[in-house]
Symmetry: C2
Subunit: 315 residues, 2 copies
């Protein structure tokens, strides 16, 4: 089925960078509902799809497009999302949804006023092992938790200077995926009690963070986020409960409970298919889904954290 | 009327430091509803009032006390507030209400589960000029705004090291008073777009901050927070609208609209009387009042801000 003969919802991708090319494009091609109608990006474009260099031209020339996915760096997200909502589009926000919690709350209100859907898409919440993990944890008491999220920024974000610019959140860009899993699957709230943030001397966001949180009932939570891991790439959690241990790895592709695998996918490739299925469902119901809990944990850690200066970073 | 023969609600102050002695004590003595029944503090005590060195003893020995005011440094606020709520007390939180937004949201849920009142008291919202300012602004369009909040930390927080420790928020401790006024009186939401944070090389929180915000409609907002002001102490705002200018000074004691004073108190001394009147009203109605908008702006600024190292600070 080609873009032009597929029935459903026309969608534009705004910001056709790495995540849009690596994930959104394929998910839209496979979607039974959405049709990629245009890209908006000053540099990049998708072959065979209408391309616009700026938002104004896109909004003016393709008024029939009903929805947009925002895949720009977070620093420009608010202004673009606001303009799209005011132009009557449903809006999907890639993670993180902006640069401040307050601006996303403002978008939520604008979406509500406009009768349009706003969806903060946290892709890790759509990883293969997540529904099973959430269901198993629902009636357990958490007694301890460790999170190890270590990756090589040069490999996963090559040359993406925005990540180290104010508002880019540095190592919390992957770390927020861990938060988005925790806030989604745990039956209790967590809050940060201590954070050590390593800032490269020539950058404005942390390259590593060691954090302590507590569950509401006092269970200890240790988190290790690091952007300098050139060895084994690790996105793991170990959740101890009163009745067994849950081990999540590869960002949620694999989940093992007391030694038994309940999910063991080799990759996370279905995440974006499920994101677009959820977006379609939200549009059909006329409901927004604005989940700010993961982003609030980043803001809390940055407010509470002790800053440590470390070696300068260069690509 | 003495503490013992006044009818009404028995209240304990937890953390009998500077703000408790300077403000809460007198407001409680003057309150027609509350009776100061105890203080809980390892060092300080109020003459003629039961004194406890620790929370456990207080909760065990004075179970009849219905409400507590938490005036400890924010770093221990959550654990104390949780314990007090679980013991069935109504809880007033001095500002800032904690060290993270997430922990205060957890307290809100505990208060709800327990059927007890939680009140985040932002004293500047109770300044004399605030109701008039809010009423006048309600139907105006904001076109520009400047905030100048400059004070001498050595004068107002002598020796209070907690303010420069992680979770103490530094210059945002007074700055949050400005945020609490803005979020209360303005008819539009603001969000932070830029922040420069000056961290003393030997401290963990900023001593000065220059911030830019925008109103949802794009009006520019400039904020200047500084803890190093040894000259004139300034807590001023200038709010330009489509129909006139509002000038607020002395933290809300004075408000002038187009050159005409609508409030011109010489001090802010009524703030805490009104805070306790509000707390009494909330308890009577069984309603919580948890306003997180001011605190969220601090977290946002700390997440988004560019850090600049500046000279070390000593008392």
């Amino acid at each position: 089925m080609t873009a032009t003969d597929k029935p459903g919802i026309d969608l534009g991708i705004i910001g056709f960078g790495k995540i849009a090319r690596d994930q959104h494009r394929a998910a839209l091609d496979a979607s039974p509902v959405f049709r990629l109608a245009a890209t908006v990006d000053p540099v990049n474009r998708a072959e065979g799809v209408e391309a616009f260099a700026d938002l104004d031209s896109f909004l003016r020339q393709m008024p029939q497009v009903q929805a947009v996915a925002l895949c720009t760096p977070p620093q420009v997200r608010f202004a673009v999302a606001r303009q799209a909502l005011l132009a009557g589009k449903h809006v999907l926000l890639e993670k993180p949804p902006g640069t401040t919690v307050s601006e996303v709350m403002t978008l939520e209100r604008i979406a509500c006023d406009q009768g349009r859907v706003l969806f903060t898409a946290w892709h890790s919440q759509f990883a293969p092992g997540i529904p099973g993990a959430k269901a198993w944890l629902a009636d357990k008491r958490i007694t301890g938790l460790t999170v190890t999220w270590r990756e090589d920024v040069r490999r996963w974000h090559p040359g993406q200077d925005w990540i180290f610019a104010p508002g880019g959140t540095g190592v919390f860009d992957p770390g927020i995926n861990a938060y988005s899993i925790l806030t989604h699957i745990l039956p209790v709230a967590l809050y940060t009690t201590q954070a050590e943030l390593e800032f490269p001397e020539n950058r404005d966001t942390p390259i590593a963070a060691r954090l302590k949180m507590l569950s509401e009932e006092g269970a200890p939570v240790d988190l290790d986020f690091d952007f300098r891991e050139t060895g084994v790439q690790t996105w793991d959690m170990r959740i101890e409960t009163d009745r067994g241990v849950l081990e999540l790895s590869q960002g949620g592709a694999t989940v093992i409970i007391d030694g038994q695998a309940i999910a063991s996918e080799s990759s996370l490739s279905g995440e974006y298919d499920r994101i677009y299925a959820r977006f379609a469902q939200l549009i059909q119901r006329g409901e927004s889904d604005v989940d700010l809990a993961p982003f609030r944990h980043v803001a809390d850690a940055m407010m509470l954290g002790r800053r440590i200066q470390t070696a300068g970073f260069a690509w």
